[in-house]
Amino acid sequence: MPLLSVEDLHVHYGSAHAPVRAVDGVSLALDAGETLGLVGESGCGKSTLSHAILRLGRPTSGRIVFEGQDITTQSRRKLAPVRSGMQMIFQDPYASLNPRQTIRKILTAPLHVHGIARGREAAEIVTGMAEAVGLGPDALDRFPHEFSGGQRQRIGIARALILKPRLVICDEPVSALDLSIQAQILNLLRRLQAERGPAYLFISHDLSVVRYISDRIAVMYLGRIVEMAPAHRLWQDPLHPYTRALIGAIPDATRRRAPDLLPPETGGRPAAGCRFANRCPLASARCLTEDPALHRASHGHQVACHHPGTSAAAAVA
């Protein structure tokens, strides 16, 4: 049984007759201790999806099952114990840390809220957690503004992991950090997973970071997963033209001044058919009328495309 399974999830906003389909039929599963990378550009729905999984909003339809329990429509009270099992790390740790609380208070609060420990026992857990993320003992009595961006992210990670969650949603955790600090934080996430075993749902717009940290990668485009595969497979043999464009757009010293370009964005999605058709170099008549479903291309590799793996050059010929 997977740790988390999401089945045909929809999250729609706005009016019922013209809804914004931020998440438009997503299915995925995540095993214990695994890292699934979720990559896509702004507006693709990756953050809405992660918020729905944490039940920070109510899905329109579909199912979310965490540790065997259907949490799709559970009440706040019933969700409380589930929530200690799933935690989140944010992009901007400063915005997510209370500026008027010491680090000790910030890290102790989750233990109190979930009734896990108090007093001396809680203090020991907090000290141990701070040490595990590389914060010295003197850090605990200081305030968030006294720390650099990288150290604040260590605090955010400590807060997320102090409840021993089985699932941690990492939402762009290194995007705001300097490159030399980014490597430190990625290494910390790696070590904590090895020591404590949480699964990561790692959300990022940066495909090279996702490639490095993920066991499997899901590529999202306008509310739907268009390709999902083991990380090395996705990189070596991307089947969806959008995945190819994303990989091709990563700046690379070996392709000096020769980017693979998609046509400029036109805004919105076509009324029918494949949602990528109006930017796709391979689009055929079928793509304009028939929305491709995510289907199995090979073992562990799924793609939603009528022309998977076809190169643009072959399509022209």
């Binding site: 490159l179 370009l261 998609l262």
Partner: protein, 320 residues
């Protein structure tokens, strides 16, 4: 490098309590792209602001010269600098929405720039504005003159900014993190556009960025800055093939991009220990506190840039 369009020599930028850029020298040749790359606090954006005469009120140029078109820009009056900005020097910034006036149509904003610098009639300027939108490959340029900034996507807005920046045929384009706010597929389009203008119009480009990948793909030469000082100046291909400064080496190898097929199940990323420092308090090398090969001298004596080849300079006594 061709004859320099911009020649910065011994530049120091000072605030009342700090000196965030120290002893910076580099040139940008005609028609080349020079990238200044660095992390936060490296002084890369202050350097760009100094060239444009847009330093914040409390900052001043404490030493050095910025020579452009036969003049030293550090000695110009604000009025003279205003004529150069948007004229001979074009600028684009990270966030096109905040650089565009939200209550003015695209056409009005471009014609205003043209008439400010070149004069002429409104009608002529409008014709030129449509040509410029076509030049930056905005579809249906004449109709887009009447569009408002909020009606355009981020990538399209950045194209409008580029059209304004090149409206008066500048010889230098300063691009400060021009694609940081854009999605990667759009980023590639915008950089391809800037590079095409460099090539076709012979504009020199000063690219300010934190993104090593962009530098590797789009720059001819690179200045690597750390905490206010230049660490290494080299051709882009030479730098990535064989970085010489310990900081450049650390930065390039810490990038997930440099790992190839190695994933995080295969071992940790090489990391640079410690935090990004500030140059203010250090008498020696600004990178010394984090440097894996620092000598005892490095903390007390600032290494000068020395040539390792015709076009490769490094500020490190250990680098070979």
């Amino acid at each position: 490098m061709n004859a320099p369009v911009l020649d910065i020599e011994g530049l120091d930028i000072a605030f009342p309590m700090a000196r965030p850029v120290q002893n910076l020298s580099f040139q940008v040749g005609a028609g080349e792209t020079l990238a200044v790359v660095g992390e936060s606090g490296s002084g890369k954006s202050l350097t760009a602001l100094a060239v444009m005469g847009l330093l914040p009120p409390r900052a001043r140029i404490a030493a050095g010269s910025i020579r452009f078109g036969g003049r030293d820009l550090t000695g110009l009056k604000p009025r003279e600098m205003q004529d150069i900005r948007g004229g001979e020097i074009g600028m684009i910034f990270q966030e096109p929405m905040t650089s565009l006036n939200p209550v003015m149509t695209i056409g009005r904003q471009i014609t205003e720039v043209i008439r400010q610098h070149d004069g002429g009639t409104e009608e002529a300027a409008r014709g030129r504005a449509a040509e410029l939108l076509d030049l930056v490959r905005i579809p249906d340029p004449v109709a887009k003159l009447d569009a408002w900034p909020h009606e355009l996507s981020g990538g399209m807005r950045q194209r409008v900014m580029i059209a304004m920046a090149v409206a008066c045929r500048p010889s230098l384009l300063i691009a400060d993190e021009p694609t940081t706010a854009l999605d990667v597929t759009i980023q590639a389009q915008v950089l391809d556009l800037i590079d095409g203008l460099r090539r076709d119009l012979g504009i020199a480009v000063l690219l300010i960025t934190h993104d090593l990948g962009l530098v590797a793909q789009w720059a001819d030469r690179v200045v690597v800055m750390y905490a206010g000082r230049p660490m290494e100046i080299a051709g882009a291909e030479a730098l990535f093939a064989r970085p010489r400064h310990p900081y450049s080496q650390g930065l390039i190898s810490a990038s997930p991009r440099a790992q190839g097929d190695r994933g995080f199940r295969d071992g940790p990323l090489p990391e640079i220990p410690g935090n990004v420092g500030s140059a203010a308090s250090l008498v020696g090398c600004s990178f010394a506190p984090r440097c894996p090969v620092a000598l005892p001298d490095c903390a007390t004596r600032r290494p000068a840039l020395r040539q390792l080849g015709a076009a490769h300079a490094v500020a490190c006594p250990v680098a070979k």
